[in-house]
Structure formats: structure tokens, C-alpha cells
């Protein structure tokens, strides 16, 4: 699932240093470099994605996010991005801490498990939802830590993380009015720009 560049680009300073955690095939960094001349590095563990990133022409470093970012200095990047990866790490709260240590600001995007379709699926079928956006069975999935918009915001409050901006988008990555009004029900993807308080 590729993440649309336009959802994060407005929050990133042109020409700045960007670290993308779980960068997939590197398309996002490639686009950001092309559009606003960022100097970026992607971290990834999947061999196919790493090769794809090499082909994409980005800087790609093989690294397991679950082992932390101790090889990166405090505030060494202007922006640390993590899109659609939060739900796949072993300790999401610790990865958030690490991101905020390494990045002056961070951008986090994740699929909202509180979306009404997920709730409907679980309610009517009594089974973990499987959809085009979450195509995995519960027992064989990289996504081990699904959360809702409400869950995430509680965590950020507990951790005194400042929510500088937030965007809630639907299946078409558009900020529909329903998603803006009742994000926990109607946001398919939630995107936050966060900093240390």
C-alpha cells in the first residue's frame, strides 16, 4: 500500500533532512527528493523492498526498527516519517520515543482500526476484519498492534507529545467532512505531525 506524497509534503521543509522508517519501496522518499529536494534515508527490513528502494535510487539502510534507532544522534534529522508502519512494530510507544529523539519533528500515519467498517465487520461477523486495506488473516499478519485514532491520541497525551497538525482521510485519501468531524469513526488513515512538547 503506497502512501500519497501530498499528504506529508506540505509539512516538510524543502531541502531538509528526512528519515523514513519502514520506507517500503522508497517511492515516498523518491518523490519528496524530486518535488522538494529533501536529503533522505529510508530504513527497511524487507529484502524485496530494499532491492526496490535501491532501484528507486534512494538511500536505503537495512535496519530493524524493533532494535531502536540508537545509531542515530538526537535531533539529527529535520523530519522523521513513519507511514503505515506503527502497527507493525513490536513496541510502538518506544519507536515513537525514538522518532521524537532523532527528529526535530515527526510525521506518523497509521490505519484507523476504529473506522466504522472495521467495527461493523467485527460486530456482524464476530471476526477480525479483512479488507482491501487490511488484507491479512489475524494469525499471519505483519500488523500486530492495530490502534484507533482515540487510542493514539490518548498515548500522545500520556507521553506529552504535541500534536502540531493532524489530518484524517477516507479511502480516497481525501479529508471528507465526516472524517474531520468524527475521525475515530470515519478516518481510514490518520496522519499526525508531532513534536516533543
Amino acid at each position: 500500500m503506497r502512501f500519497p506524497t501530498e499528504l506529508v509534503q506540505p509539512w516538510i521543509e524543502p531541502g531538509s533532512r528526512v528519515l523514513d522508517l519502514g520506507c517500503g519501496d522508497g517511492k515516498l522518499l523518491h518523490q519528496l527528493a524530486k518535488n522538494i529536494d529533501i536529503h533522505g534515508y529510508g530504513l527497511e527490513i524487507d529484502p524485496y523492498n530494499i532491492t526496490a528502494s535501491i532501484k528507486q535510487g534512494i538511500n536505503i539502510v537495512e535496519q530493524d526498527l524493533d532494535k531502536g534507532l540508537s545509531n542515530f544522534a538526537d535531533n539529527s534529522f529535520d523530519t522523521v516519517i513513519m507511514t503505515q508502519t506503527l502497527q507493525a512494530v513490536r513496541y510502538p510507544h518506544l519507536v515513537l520515543d525514538e522518532m521524537l529523539r532523532v527528529g526535530k519533528q515527526c510525521i506518523v500515519a497509521f490505519p484507523n482500526f476504529g473506522h466504522w467498517r472495521c467495527r461493523w465487520y467485527l460486530n456482524t461477523r464476530g471476526k477480525m476484519p479483512i479488507s482491501k486495506f487490511m488484507p491479512y488473516t489475524w494469525y499471519d499478519t505483519p500488523n500486530i498492534h492495530f490502534c484507533t485514532v482515540a487510542d493514539f491520541e490518548v498515548l500522545t497525551e500520556e507521553k506529552h507529545i504535541e500534536l502540531v497538525n493532524r489530518r484524517y482521510v477516507d479511502h480516497h485519501n481525501k479529508s471528507s467532512s465526516a472524517a474531520r468531524m468524527w475521525p475515530n469513526l470515519f478516518a481510514v488513515t490518520a496522519i499526525y505531525r508531532i513534536t516533543k512538547e
Binding site: 533532512r17 536529503h39 534515508y41 529484502p47 530494499i50 532491492t51 528502494s53 535501491i54 532501484k55 535510487g57 534512494i58 538511500n59 536505503i60 539502510v61 537495512e62 545509531n71 542515530f72 544522534a73 539529527s76
Partner: protein, 386 residues
Amino acid sequence: MPTDARKQSVGLVTPITHHFDHDFELACGKTLAGYDLVYETYGELNKDHSNAILICHALSGNHHAAGYHSYDDKRPGWWDHYIGPGKPIDTNRFFVVALNNIGGCSGSTGPTSINPATGKRWGSDFPGLRVRDWVKTQAELADLLEIDIWAAVVGGSLGGMQALRWSLEHPQRLKHCVVIASAMKLTAQNLAFNEVARKAITSDPAFHNGNYLDHDTLPRDGLALARMVGHITYLSDEVLGSKFGRELRSGSFEMGQDDGVEFQIQSYLKYQGESFSSCFDANSYIRMTQALDFFDLAREYDNDPVDAFKNAECEFFVVSFSTDWRFSPARSQELVQSLIAAQKNVSYVEIESKMGHDAFLLPNARYQDIFSAYMNRVYKSIKRKK
């Protein structure tokens, strides 16, 4: 040479020896009154001389990196899995240059050459070498071949150290630096293994303080022992276990029949040691391991690799192998970390392999795949420049 070698490899190749006729000052302060370099090239140099790749060899390597020397040749060059038509270093696209470093024993000036001052072989009097000396001779070879800028300088192990030194000494003369199974400096454990190897050689009664050739002899046992120790460290416990285990080559475990018992691993190491000691020079081995020991990328930059890399202008590709304990992934990660902190373009992969340090020479699907992808990037960067 296999009959279909032309398809799979660069085919027959002939080494070229060039004599550089000027005084060459070494890092140690001593001067060589001229020197020879033996090298091979594969592929065609393009019109604007922008597709050249330099291959830097490791401890016991030489100029014969790919192809065959004759039809009777049983084995191709040492990196034939990775250099050739359609291979990661694709000779249909690149002009590949591989040389034997000075101090070596495959044709370039080294301890077995004649010292012009005495008319006798250098032997142990051959001056001490540093990695930077090799880089300097390689730059002179580049001048000779009219290559201003290498599309990439590529090396594994000690070869990777030469590639790194290139990026600092001649930042404008390479576009990509490919560093495989290498490090910014050796660890104490590595220094220790090299010392054991040298001690094995110098302890051989046939060594004669390095002047064994004057005594018409060779310290074969010492050199073989040095190679045996080295060889163990180039492989992983896992691969030794799976290849040899505790299998016996001869004899039996039956009580009272201890004579003639030989493990497979014993026989293998004996073979490795003997075949190496019959084709490599002991003084070369000593000089090469010393250059390896002394290499410390950031020493003259106040021991700060980040500061050192600020001079570099090329892009870096760093590769490590999961079971390599001689040049472990941690050493490559330190290198990558310094490059990122210096804001250099770098990509890094750790290849899953059970082959230990030797993995960089051996076939491996993921390694081949990603190496090809990166070299494709190198090729594209040449084309863009046109």
C-alpha cells in the same frame, strides 16, 4: 575453461604489465625506484571514458579477477561470480580494471622482485606498505589508462578499505564507492589473528629472517599454518559444521586404532594451507597483513570518521554478511552511521549467508540481485551525465 565460458564469463584474458619508470615515494618515507603493476581489463572503455570500474583485491587476491588465462585453466579469476557479461559488474556495460597491488607476489613489484639498489631480491627488506600507497599506484594506473573518474571503485575486505581510502584521497575521481565485508579499521581480535599468522611464518626455521630465497628454500609450513588460521576465521562455525562436521576422512574411532585418524576438516585445512603456501610469498603475506593492521580510516582526522567523510563526494554502497565474524555487520554499521552523520549518500544491506567472511566471493541470490540493482544505478548515473 568450460566450453561455454564465453557466455558465462569474460573468456580468455591476458594480464598486462606496466613499468612505472619514476621514483615512487611510499607513505613510510622510503622510495621505490620505479615499480611494476600487473593488471587485467574486461569490457570496453567507452568514448568519454566514464564507464570504468576499479576492482581492489583483498589480502591474498591479485589482478586475475575474472575469466581464464588459458583453455586448460580449471578455475576462473577470484571474483568471476560477480564480474562478467550479465553479472552484477556487467562487462557488457563497464570497463573493469583489476590489478595486483605492490607488495604482492603475482607480478607487481613486491618482496620477490629485484631491489635495484642491491641487485638481489628484496625479501624482508621490501618497504612497509600502507593502503594509501596502493591507492596512489592505482591512481597512477588510472592516469595511464586515461580514466579521470571511476564510475565506481569496488572492493571486499581489505579491498573495501582501499575503496574507502579512494573516497577520501581522490574525492573527485570516483562517483561510487562499493565497500563489501569491510571495516574502517581492524578490531583487536583481528589484529591478534594477523599476528598469529605472521608468527607462524617467522617461526618456520626455513624463514631465515625473510631471506629464504637466498637460501633456496621456502617457509612452507609457516605460511601454510598462517593460511589455516586465516581460513578458519573466514568461515563461520555453521558452515564448517555443515560442510565437515565430525566426519572422518580416514581411520576409525574404534579404541586402540588411533593411528591414521583424520577428520575431514583436518584434511581440508591441510589442503588449503599447502596449496596456498605453494603459490603465495611469505614476505608478501607479512606486508599485506601489516597494511591491513595499520589501516585506520579516521586516524589523521582526529579519529573522527564523520569528519573524515566530509571530504568524500561519491555515493556509497555498503554490504555485510550475517555470519561474517572477521568483518562483522557491526563494523559495516559503524561505517554507515558515520556516512549518514556526514550527510553522505549511502545504502546498506546485510546479506543472510552462512558462509562467513568468504560470502563476499561466493554465489548468493540476494547478494547478486541487490549488487546488480546498485550497479545498474551506477550505470544510469553515467548515462545521465552524458
